[in-house]
Symmetry: C2
Subunit: 580 residues, 2 copies
């Protein structure tokens, strides 16, 4: 009896340990199959197979409610809860998401893709249960990496006050995406070394009961352990030690490489081309400063690989590199203070995760006018999962006073902006790193951006003005070319800045332009284009704003989104001609 007979957690309740082991083996094959076909989270899922089986063996989902932190370890759960086709059936791999999603199954309680939320969410579920005098288990499954996030800590601090059932399973695989960082991890290490017995237990210090299992990949022991805590009447932490990547040797050996992977990772012949990227430009820039003995500090909130901060780069930087762990709030404040005290911090963060930091950007950074550099990667309209969209960062960041928000459009411009941001001491600077193939203009750029909010006019035309921000400059160029066929010589502008508008230029444009169009690779609401609309709203000039609609999209192909948002050159030309 293997996974083929399992369609719900009920189906494993009466199996023997040996049968459960066969299912574990089948689940591993499913994980490897899916990830090799379409990419995804590999190491964390391989490591949590046994624990997931034991959880479903002991607990009674969906009556007992399980919350999966960040969802990096949810594949085995999906396979046990009626969704194995998403792993085994080539036709259906895309039918399920890689994340917790109640639309797929009653066994998922929330849509989750950001870290460190499970404790707070489970705490709310438990409190509602208690108020309604209901009786079941609430379980949060959280990885050690997620423990560094402030939201998780806030959740622990409060969940400890529940005078009722609350089970936090801490899946300790000794890794965040990269190596764990922070004082807490020494505590976890001590706990692992001493079979759960140390002088100062972090979880106990917060008021939790605590139980440790070193053999976190042993189904029998897991079942035994979970049975002990089932129906606990107090908040308890179950700390299990698992092997990240278990069952696939390369993933066991190179845990960071296989945390998440692109497809076809099993292909031995896969080669990585060493071409220039915006990531490599960034790391080259930082290494150059380091080599000159400058107090540059490259900072990542636990996503070094995603922003090109590879191991070699980290090794070269040494003390000039800080991985703060999953701790975006701290990352901003830390960068701000580094800058205030004369160092040169460069923080690289993904668009979706900078959402954690609005208040720190505002209070710790902008209000203090700290000249730190924040690089936002992956800001764009993409086919991403609804939890990892990159369209909201422009409104979030650019509307904060004092922040200079720059949007380079090619290699040379990016370097010029980095140089300017690095050498000035007046402004917090956020650079939205281009999300596209690296494009070199071949022309050295030494623009001085001290003259804030000065837009660059690339082509001086008339009638139609195209203001194309960042990634969308190429779209702007294409539209300009299209309009030539209509005998329109459109003005093309690279605004560079998204934080303010170039009022002088916009006033000049009024003289011989009837229509201004704005293009931005992000959501329209609260974004760059609306600033232009507001400026012209009391004049005769008409404005057409192009960008994403305010919505959570979910794995929709980019072309479809472009079509829907009228972001093709043909559609925009049509709109312009219609308005003329």
């Amino acid at each position: 009896m293997g996974l083929d007979k399992i369609n719900s957690p009920q189906d494993i309740k009466n199996l023997s340990i040996e049968e459960l082991k066969i299912i574990a083996s089948d689940i591993r094959k499913g994980i490897l199959n899916r990830v090799n076909k379409i990419g995804g989270h590999l190491g964390p899922d391989l490591g949590i197979v046994e624990a997931t089986i034991a959880m479903h063996y002991v607990f009674n989902s969906p009556i007992d409610k399980i919350v999966f932190d960040v969802s990096h370890q949810i594949y085995p759960h999906k396979m046990l809860t009626g969704r194995k086709h998403g792993f085994l059936d080539e036709e259906k791999l895309f039918e399920i998401t890689g994340y917790s999603n109640p639309d797929e199954s009653e066994h998922d309680n929330f849509i989750i893709g950001h870290t460190s939320t499970s404790i707070s969410l489970a705490c709310g579920l438990a409190k509602a249960r208690d108020l309604k005098k209901e009786n079941y288990n609430v379980i949060a499954l959280i990885g050690d990496g997620s423990l560094s996030g402030g939201e998780a800590y806030e959740g622990f601090n409060n969940a400890a006050m529940l005078n009722s059932n609350f089970i936090a399973i801490v899946n300790d695989n000794e890794m965040s995406i990269a190596k764990n960082q922070g004082g807490l991890y020494k505590n976890l290490e001590d706990l692992r070394k001493n079979n759960g017995n140390v002088e100062n237990n972090f979880f106990k210090s917060l008021g939790f009961e605590y139980i440790y299992l070193n053999d976190g990949n042993d189904i029998e022991k897991l079942i035994e352990t979970f049975k002990k805590v089932k129906d606990s009447k107090k908040p308890i932490v179950v700390h299990i030690h698992t092997l990240k990547g278990k069952g696939y040797e390369p993933a066991e050996e190179n845990k960071e490489r296989y945390h998440w992977t692109i497809p076809n990772f099993m292909d031995d012949n896969q080669t990585f081309t060493q071409k220039e990227t915006y990531e490599s430009i960034t790391t080259d820039f930082i290494l150059d400063k380091k080599s000159k003995g400058e107090p540059v500090v490259a900072i990542t909130p636990a996503t070094p690989g995603a922003t090109g901060f590879y191991q070699e780069f980290r090794d070269k930087l040494g003390e000039n590199y800080t991985d703060v762990g999953i701790a975006e709030e701290h990352a901003i404040a830390y960068a701000s203070a580094l800058a205030k005290n004369g160092a040169k911090p460069i923080l690289a963060v993904l668009s979706s995760f900078i959402q954690r930091t609005y208040d720190q950007l505002s209070q710790d950074l902008a209000l203090n006018k700290s000249p730190a550099i924040i690089l936002v990667f992956w800001g764009a309209i993409t086919n991403a999962d609804s939890t990892h969209l990159g369209v909201f960062d422009i409104p979030l960041v650019s509307n904060i006073p004092n922040i200079v928000h720059l949007n380079p459009t090619n290699k040379e411009e990016y370097i010029a902006m980095l140089n300017w941001a690095y050498n000035q001491n007046e402004h917090p600077v956020v650079i939205r790193v281009p999300y596209m193939e690296c494009y070199s203009s071949g022309i050295n750029d030494d623009t001085d951006y001290s003259d804030l909010n000065k837009f660059k006019v690339l082509n001086k035309g008339e009638k139609i003005g195209i203001i194309a921000l960042g990634n969308f400059l190429s779209l702007g160029k294409a539209i300009k070319e299209e309009l030539k066929f209509e005998n329109i010589n459109a003005t093309l502008i690279n605004p560079c800045f998204a934080s303010r508008i170039d009022e002088d230029l916009l006033n000049q444009l009024k003289e011989n332009h009837k229509i201004i169009i704005t293009l931005e690779d992000g959501v329209l609401d609260g974004g760059f284009g609306e600033k232009i609309s507001r400026f012209y709203s009391k004049t005769e000039v008409k404005v057409l704003n192009y960008g994403a609609k305010k919505e959570f999209t979910d794995r929709i192909p980019i072309e479809k989104l472009y079509q829907k948002y009228r972001l093709t050159k043909e559609q925009i030309k049509e709109d312009i001609l219609h308005l003329i």
Copy 2:
């Protein structure tokens, strides 16, 4: 020798303990004088007098750098660092702010007004020091209440990794603004009871060295303790136990009441009128649900008094009340999960502090369409300190997909919105509670807001349309009256919703309106008015947007701000007539 001779920390270095005690007494008088004259933080400042004197006696500011968490306890420091006139000289009370501010003194390192930031900021200062091979002490002074914030925890986790000097002074006065909440506080209580010796020490679990002083108001012992940790080569926590409100008996006895106070608190004859407020309407609403046995949960992130959640209310609610401590991120996720599991959470939060929660609003709440209710208080253009502005919440909240953002304009409308939000199960609802005297229309309101984004037309006129959001409806009415003198019968609209626009209505308005003006009590950039401008930007209709400029203002009188932003009826009328 008393405070009159002290103009910088250097001046206390050679004094005797007895002389320092006299200065402590003088400082207390200064605190009481200022706060009684102009209001401010009383209890935390009275409690930290001796520790501040000892800090400046032992450490060497500004070479040694001290970071004050949230600044609720910075008055004694200000008095010792050349700013005693702001406490003693009636003419100069307003010359200094109540918060840490480097523009005032080189002894302040950052502008700070939000909690839980000091550890991260000090961590950055220390790291920059180390990179530059400098040598001095970096000290964070953080209250026990601030320890519950995720940013503080993230900071501790990272500061523990510094292999160098880092001193966190934890000022434990057994209180947040209200009573502390969370598992951590049991740990602190145990530490206090056992003179710093417990089985699981929270700080030690994170890798800090630790030292405890129970007599946190004894200058001599404080000096002795600080001398022990001065020049420490490792991160260390100095946990001192102080008495909040010390030296002013009413503040010692009623710690919450005197955490912060309005002026003239010493006036025995001060009476509190029991008039109806938006706060009392809120608590009445919640108590009514509780009395019906419904699973309502009132939630505060440690600011119950500021939103009308007074002790009597909390006592009546019992298990239906949760103070999560200073933990806004958790508060949102917790509310979301409560709603998902059938409870009825109502979270009350201040505009300035909801800034901590963008990601949780987006991911934990909105993406999951949890029907929680978030009430935003103090959202308005005010004369607040730059760290407590209430103008940024509309752009922050309203541009998140799935959130319904409501803006009531009077008592009956507020109740109608509360009722609708409470009884529906589809949408996360954020209500921006009016920031003004409570105004009753006297007319029962039973609007069903299920028909989302439907604006209310209060007066159907022509030529000019006034769309006046929330607090500014009264300004809209005034402008309408002004325009009557010009024989213009303006259309007046209460949009209610800030999250989307009423496209049907806006299209209708095009027929007989030339100018639309928008009014919002918040920043224009990314806000409500820009949505209207964008809508009309491709039409003949002109739009004038009114609201605050994107800037950090600092204690500027509201009238001045209104004048600057052209938010008076006279200015707006002038603009309209000019445009016609």
